[in-house]
Structure formats: C-alpha cells, structure tokens
C-alpha cells in the first residue's frame, strides 16, 4: 500500500478540498485516479486512514526494533511508511533503568527521611533563635 498523502504532498488530516486540489494538480494520471477513488469518499477515506495509521505504527515499531529491512517489509509499504532513521530507543533498557531508579529510591527512603527531618529541625531551631534575638 502507498502513502497517498505523502505522494500528493499534503498533510494527513487535510480537508477534502485540499485533497481535491492536490489531485487536480497531480501529473500522474493513475495516482490521480487512485487518490480521487480512495480519498474522495468519506467512508473509503476512513478505511484508508485506519490502515494508514496502522502502517505508520508498524513502520515506527520496525524502526525501533531495527527491522526496517526485514523480508516481510518490502515494496510500497516499506518505501512509504519507514520513518527517517532516528535514535533507536530500546524499551526494555528503559524499563530496567526505571526499575533501578525505583529500587534505589526504595532502598534510600529511610536515609532521605532522616535528612528531611534533620533539615526541618535545624530550620525550627534557627527560627526559634532568630525570634529570641529579635524580641
């Protein structure tokens, strides 16, 4: 499947009027006919957008997993829906990092509580001393 929005050079949430004008301006006759057929009718456009969203998701997923050149990701779909290469974020590593942070917080909660109590006590003592000195 092709990304008609991309090939026509319009936004994904373009109004029907914009689509019509872009299709009029298009030189490729078959692309023009396909765009008018698929995007002209609201019900068809809904179906098309549904699949379009899924393929964009899949393209992002594959980019994140490093599977943009897999044997099942060929042809039009691969050409149009593979996002530009960006920094790959491994969700599993994110999860382990989060776990470590949570664990550290859990382990140091007593120490942090003690520091907080100490700071509050010192502040109270300072306020008391300042009050005595002023009055």
């Amino acid at each position: 499947m092709r990304d008609l929005y991309r090939r026509l050079g319009i936004a994904r949430h373009a109004t029907p009027k914009t689509i019509f004008r872009a299709a009029e301006r298009c030189d490729n006759h078959s692309l023009k006919a396909d765009a008018m057929c698929a995007l002209g009718d609201p019900a068809r456009r809904r179906d098309y957008d549904d699949l379009h969203a899924l393929l964009s998701d899949l393209g992002r997923l594959r980019a994140g997993l490093g599977m943009t050149h897999a044997p099942h990701w060929q042809g039009d779909a691969a050409n149009d829906f593979s996002p530009a290469p960006e920094r790959i974020v491994a969700r599993q590593e994110l999860l382990t990092n989060k776990l470590e942070i949570a664990l550290r917080r859990h382990q140091t909660r007593w120490r942090r509580g003690a520091w907080l109590t100490l700071a509050i006590a010192i502040g109270l003592a300072a306020a008391y001393a300042a009050g005595r000195w002023l009055i």
């Binding site: 499947m1 098309y48 997923l61 594959r62 997993l65 099942h72 917080r105």
Partner: protein, 348 residues
Amino acid sequence: MAPACFSAFELLLLKSRYQPDTASLLLLAWVFVNKRVALAEDRRYLEVLANGYRHSPDLDTLLAVASADLSAIQLAAEVLLRERVDAQSHPFLRRAIGLATSDGAPSLRNHYILRFLADLSGVTPDEFARLFREVTGRALMAPGDPSRHVYWQDKATEAPDAAAGDATPRKQPAWQRWRRRVLSARSRRRRQRREREQLRQQARQQREEMLRQARQREETRRRDEARREQAQRREEARRQEQARREDSQRQEEAHRRQRAHQERTHQRERTRQQTAGERPPHYRVRLALQVLELDESASRIEIKRAYRRLAQRHHPDRFHGQGDLRVALASQRFQRIKNAYDYLMTTV
C-alpha cells in the same frame, strides 16, 4: 511516587512468571483487537491462554493496552526478540495465524500485523506461506491495496454479495446461529487438538534427541576407556621390560665390580708380600690401623679417607657448647686419631 512511573503493561511484565509468555499474550491480544469481527470463541481461547500463563484477571488490561499503546507493543516485541522463544516450530506464530483466521480471511490490518510477527519470529516469506497453509488449510493471499482504485472496484462488486449473505441469517436466525456455534466449537476443538499434537511431537523429538545424545556419550566414554586401558597395558609392559633390562645391567655391573675388587686386593697382597716378605706389619702400625678402624691390608688412600671421616666425627669443635667434659674427651680421641694418622703417613 515510584509506581506511577510504570505503565500498565510494564507492571504486568514485571509481575509475570515468565516474561515472554506475557509478551506473546499481549501480541495475541493485539491480533485479536485488530480482527474484522471479534468472535466470542476467540475471546475464550485468549482466556484459556491467559489462564495458562497465570494472567487470567489481566486479560481486559492487556486488550486495552493492545488497542492503544504502541510502546507496550514495542516492549513486548523486544522481549520476544531477545528471548527467541519462537525460534523452533513457531508455536506463537501458529497461534497468531489461527487467531487471525478463525473467521475466514484475516483483516487487512491483521495481514500486516501477521507479517510483522513473522519477521519477529524470523520466518521467511516462503515458510510463512507454508505455515499459513498448514494452520488454516488455505493459501496465503497478498493483502488488498486500498491506495489503488482496483481494490475499491472489487469491493463494490463484492458488497452486494455480502449484503445478500447478511440477508439470509435474518430469514433463519435460529438454525443459522446454532450451526455457527457448532462450527466454531468444531474449529476450536480442531485447533486445540492440533496444538496438543504439536506439543506431543516436540516432546517426542526432544526425548529422542536426548536419548541419542546419551547413547553417543556412552559410546565415546566406552571407546575412551578401552583406549586408555590399552595404553596402560602397553605402558606397563614397557616398564617391566625396562626394569628387567636395568636389573640385568645392575647385576652385570655388580659382577664386574666384585671381580675388579677381588683382583685389586689380590694384587695388593701380592705387592705387600713381595715388599715385606712373610713378615707381618709392626704392632704400632697395627695399633694405628685399629685406631683408624681399618684392617691390615689398607692402602694409603683408604687410610687418608678413614682419617678424614674420623676427624670429622670426633673433632672437638663439634661438641662445643655440650659441656667441657665432652669437649675434652673429643679432643683426646681426635689427638689419638691424628697421631695414628701421622705415624702411618710417615712409615707406610
């Protein structure tokens, strides 16, 4: 503070007994959510699976996550990719295909999702088509392309048929419903049976493999032992042979030495008899030789050796620190030995 950081699926994953199970359940839920029609039978199938994976109360959460959260799906895919649980015979991919095609051809969305899962399991297109035929009994068709007007024309021609197909159950709803239920039950049973058979076959293959490995190990062990025994026997034989040869050599040497010694003593006696005639040595000489613990036929070299030995043994410095008496006795003995040696050296 900390628990708020984790998403619903991350919490499930952290709590799960075996992470790949949870991940594959989420991906199956993703397939289920993207079906054209969600059948009650498929939902029951998922419930059974979730029950087996100890996730029975979490199925609704998983379904909600699968329809909304892309990062959770990426996490699940990473877990599956990391663990490589689906490398042999692809049980997960079979399940996904079965789930997607339980109501006929898979939906367009599921076409792409199944191909994504096939890539995740490392299945080539040919193998995927073969798997698809195996599971569904139908050939794998290429997905339709809504970006071409041919797709919409085909759909428009199909639509009246579908409308007609929709009209019939309205006419006979009762028996149609009953027939559908029977058919779905049969397909479910068939799927379960197929899965069970696959599992049994896998187990049998594993057992055979293990048996064969054990037999091979046994054989190699026996061969090694035999080789070792042979080597030991050969080694022992060689050692015995060597020992025998050494024994014979030693005996010969001893014989030779004895003979040489006898000859030497004979010669000495002869020379002494020649020089001294029949006369025995002077008594002072005999006394001195007694002091040096030698017999009368001792040569100069032997005397020297004996003197050195005895001087070392009886030297007064050896008894230093053990009392004056012992030092005095030792010096007396040493003096006597020295006198004897001097006398023998001057006379003999």
